[in-house]
């Protein structure tokens, strides 16, 4: 057995914080949630390629802060980092006065004003997912993010509160409003067709 293998044998049971060990644990615990991070990022930064940048930034920050992760929900922890990175980037853009339209969090936009196609025709399109994504993009960001975290990433209320940094009650009321908004804009339109 060579020296390196001997070193590994000593190291693994002890779960020490050696460099290689940290990397291995990071890959085992955090990398499985990268897809979730990417899916979440797509709805925070819808511009082409922006989600990829956001996920990379978040992964690097997660790695740097990995020692501080102790027994909590790893997925929620990673998604919170994605959210924070997004928040930082968004603030930088605000400072430069370059806010994309879809980043507007408070104004409720009428889909008829933004969507160029006939909504009825669009609902009939084979690509339902495309239509759904479009409707989601028209929702305020605080609705979009809570919907994705709950319905796509299966986080419970407590984990969502952790990711968004808001109280549980806020999670519940936002979720109710977000679902109602989605129903009004997508499902009922579908029912018409």
């Amino acid at each position: 057995m060579d020296a390196q293998a001997a070193c590994l044998l000593e190291r693994y049971p002890a779960m020490s914080d050696g460099l290689d060990d940290k990397r291995a644990r990071f890959e085992a615990q955090v990398l499985p949630h990268l897809d979730a991070a990417y899916r979440f990022a797509r709805w925070l930064e819808p511009a082409p390629g922006a989600a990829d940048d956001l996920v990379q930034e978040a992964a690097l920050r997660a790695y740097r802060g990995f020692e501080r992760l102790r027994g909590t929900n790893v997925k929620a922890w990673l998604l919170a980092i994605v959210k924070n990175c997004h928040f930082t980037a968004q603030r930088a853009r605000h400072a430069r006065d370059m806010v994309p339209l879809s980043e507007d969090t408070d104004s409720v936009q009428d889909p008829a004003l933004v969507a160029s196609d006939d909504p009825l025709k669009e609902a009939l399109e084979a690509d339902q997912t495309r239509a759904l994504e479009r409707v989601l993009l028209l929702l305020p960001e605080e609705h979009r993010e809570v919907l994705i975290l709950r319905e796509v990433e299966d986080l419970d209320y407590r984990a969502i509160a952790e990711v968004l940094g808001v109280p549980l009650g806020t999670v519940m009321s936002r979720l109710a409003r977000a679902r109602a908004a989605l129903r009004a804009r997508y499902l009922e339109r579908e029912a018409v067709s």
Partner: protein, 289 residues
């Protein structure tokens, strides 16, 4: 317009209520048409959002992240070296070498990628792996039991890492087949062991195919079974003197190892303990003529 209990109905739908409260809401639902309708609509919203579970990190982005982590690790090593002399820095570099790579998840991925990757047999199973990943319950690295020996602990680590890696897009299968006459000879040419290959579809464990992973520096034959939405990887190699890893649960994944006359097996999955036990029994029975 809205019933004052709609938030409770939502919490019921999201499985956030304890049994007592859930019972209360169920009684309310029986008498409130508005809330019953809300419950249906909540289900419709969830179904509509189903397709959004599909997207995955694009491979090039994944590669960029791997490289960024490499740079970060190298940078941290150099930083430590500045204090402790040149030794620490070169140690960090050695960690990136191919020898060390066999025992490590990330390097293993690259190593296998270079030598063993076959054309994209596995594309169809990307979605399946996605389901398994979302279904996986991560509790944050709590280790409930550890193999009693160092080699066992290291193998546990390798096998769990291999399992996680197999759930990444296009990593699950190298030979995709439910036909044992295809999988068995493929192992003969690619792995250091050639286990009995049987499809247990009738018993609820359809065979999806096979793969080769490096475990403890041997090319282990990996049989991939499905059970509902779960992926079960069954690693096997020629029986040796080393003690097998103990049954382990980590991060929501279970590992169960056993020994037959000439082979050792380790099954890993996020499926339940009973399911792994059943699969072990099936494989044992199939191996004894």
């Amino acid at each position: 317009m809205s019933c004052e209990r709609s938030i409770e109905v939502q919490a019921y739908f999201d499985a956030e209520l304890d049994a007592l409260k859930a019972r209360e809401v169920e009684q309310h639902l029986a008498s409130c048409a508005e809330c019953a309708r809300l419950l249906e609509e909540l289900g419709a919203t969830r179904r509509a959002l189903e397709p959004l579970r599909a997207p995955r990190v694009p491979r090039p982005t994944l590669d960029l992240i791997e490289r960024a982590l490499d740079r970060e690790a190298a940078g941290a090593g150099a930083g430590a070296g500045a204090g402790a002399g040149a030794g620490a820095g070169s140690g960090a570099r050695a960690g990136a070498g191919p020898g060390r790579g066999l025992a490590r998840g990330g390097r293993l991925m690259e190593w296998l990628g270079e030598w063993l990757r076959r054309p994209a047999f596995a594309a169809a199973f990307g979605a399946l792996a996605g389901i398994a990943l979302t279904a996986a319950l991560f509790t944050g690295g709590t280790l409930q039991s550890v193999g009693g020996n160092a080699a066992g602990a290291r193998m546990t680590d390798e096998i769990l890492t291999d399992h996680l890696r197999s759930l990444l897009p296009d990593q699950l299968l190298e030979v995709q087949s439910t036909d044992r006459h295809t999988v068995k000879p493929w192992f003969a040419g690619h792995a250091d062991a050639s286990p009995t290959v049987v499809d247990f579809a009738v018993q609820g464990f359809p065979l999806a195919g096979g793969r080769v992973d490096v475990v403890d520096r041997r090319r282990a034959a990996v049989l991939v079974y499905r059970h509902g939405a779960h992926v079960i990887n069954v690693f096997s190699w020629a029986a040796g003197d080393a003690q097998l890893p103990a049954h382990t649960t980590r991060d929501g994944y279970r590992m169960r190892c056993w020994r037959s006359t000439d082979l050792e097996y380790c099954a890993v999955s996020d499926a339940g303990a009973e399911e792994l036990e059943t699969l072990e029994r099936l494989i044992r029975e199939a191996a004894t003529p």
